[in-house]
Symmetry: C2
Subunit: 198 residues, 2 copies
């Protein structure tokens, strides 16, 4: 919990200890009640040390999240659009669960006033993984002949993640059935509707 060692930590080692403290503190008291004061105490250091690194609580928590959330690697080729998308959403869901609904909402809320911070958050937690989808899953589906590239609008590319994120934020979690219904009742039908007749 606290420390009272003679040695003085620096650089990497110190930063690691702080981010670990942030995480433990987060698990213990939650996002809303996480304070610089407590983190400093838990890490066995002091507030100025934190403020030298991050200018705000959110920035610090983003650093913590970034240090723990797994990077999006490649998406497995399951042989079908549905399988690939399901795998991708499952991975994305796992990431969301690591952070948790409360923390996601808290960060979104605290960041919603500052356009710059908002950009950073969205880039890290939203767009990165969308690009991944564009780059492999949809490309493979086009190659397989499951999709026509010219019908892939921006909205359709974002669609699976928009629905997943909404479900997670509002309902608290996403069951397997919910995932399936997102795919089978919305995403795939929308993707396959060619002549979007009015």
């Amino acid at each position: 919990m606290e420390r009272k060692v003679a040695s003085r930590r620096r650089g990497e080692e110190l930063e690691r200890a702080i981010l670990d403290a942030v995480w433990e503190e987060f698990l213990e008291v939650g996002f809303a009640k996480l304070s610089m004061e407590r983190v400093a105490k838990r890490a066995g250091t002091s507030k100025p040390v934190l403020y030298r690194r991050w200018s705000s609580r959110v920035e610090m928590m983003l650093a913590c999240a970034a240090s723990r959330v797994p990077k999006a690697d490649s998406v497995p080729n399951t042989g079908s659009l549905r399988g690939d998308t399901m795998a991708l959403l499952t991975f994305a869901l796992a990431r969301m669960r690591m952070v948790g609904r409360t923390a996601m909402l808290g960060m979104l809320a605290e960041v919603s006033a500052d356009p710059e911070a908002r950009g950073v958050l969205l880039a890290g937690l939203v767009n990165e993984i969308v690009r991944s989808l564009n780059g492999s899953v949809y490309a493979r589906a086009v190659k397989r002949g499951e999709l026509a590239e010219e019908h892939l609008t921006e909205r359709l590319r974002r669609l699976p993640f928009d629905l997943l994120r909404n479900e997670f934020i509002i309902l608290g979690d996403v069951t397997d059935e919910a995932l399936a219904s997102i795919l089978d009742e919305v995403v795939l039908p929308a993707l396959r509707a060619r002549g979007a007749s009015v």
Copy 2:
């Protein structure tokens, strides 16, 4: 801003004055920085008076929101499913704009830990309007022959609002084009896909 009148307000009158103060304060400093202390001062009263009515900041803000957000009345019959849904989403969007992204996120975040408060918030801001959709828009579309009732799953009923809410929360606002793309690229195609083939 403040008041120093001899008369002592009570009941309805006092409550109105407080909720007005909450709203003005919200417009001025935003959701995150809104404090009981400042609201009390602005309303020309004191904290105990606030705490006698509402047990928390969120509860007070919900009361304020409820007193200002227009109730969902009837949905105009435009003659087509697309027109009806567009009208409904436009109305829902207007409501969201009155509250604002920051406040919505703030409330969702503060409420996300407490299941009971969460239920209240969702019931008021989500489900009410979904019921309205079920009750009239979809019923009319079924009567017109535009939809088959047996394909109207829970997910499809929620779909327009899920997408609207997500867009509003994440992107900050919803343009007319975005609204149109939600309808024409996702909602209507999904609704019309009969045999949800895998």
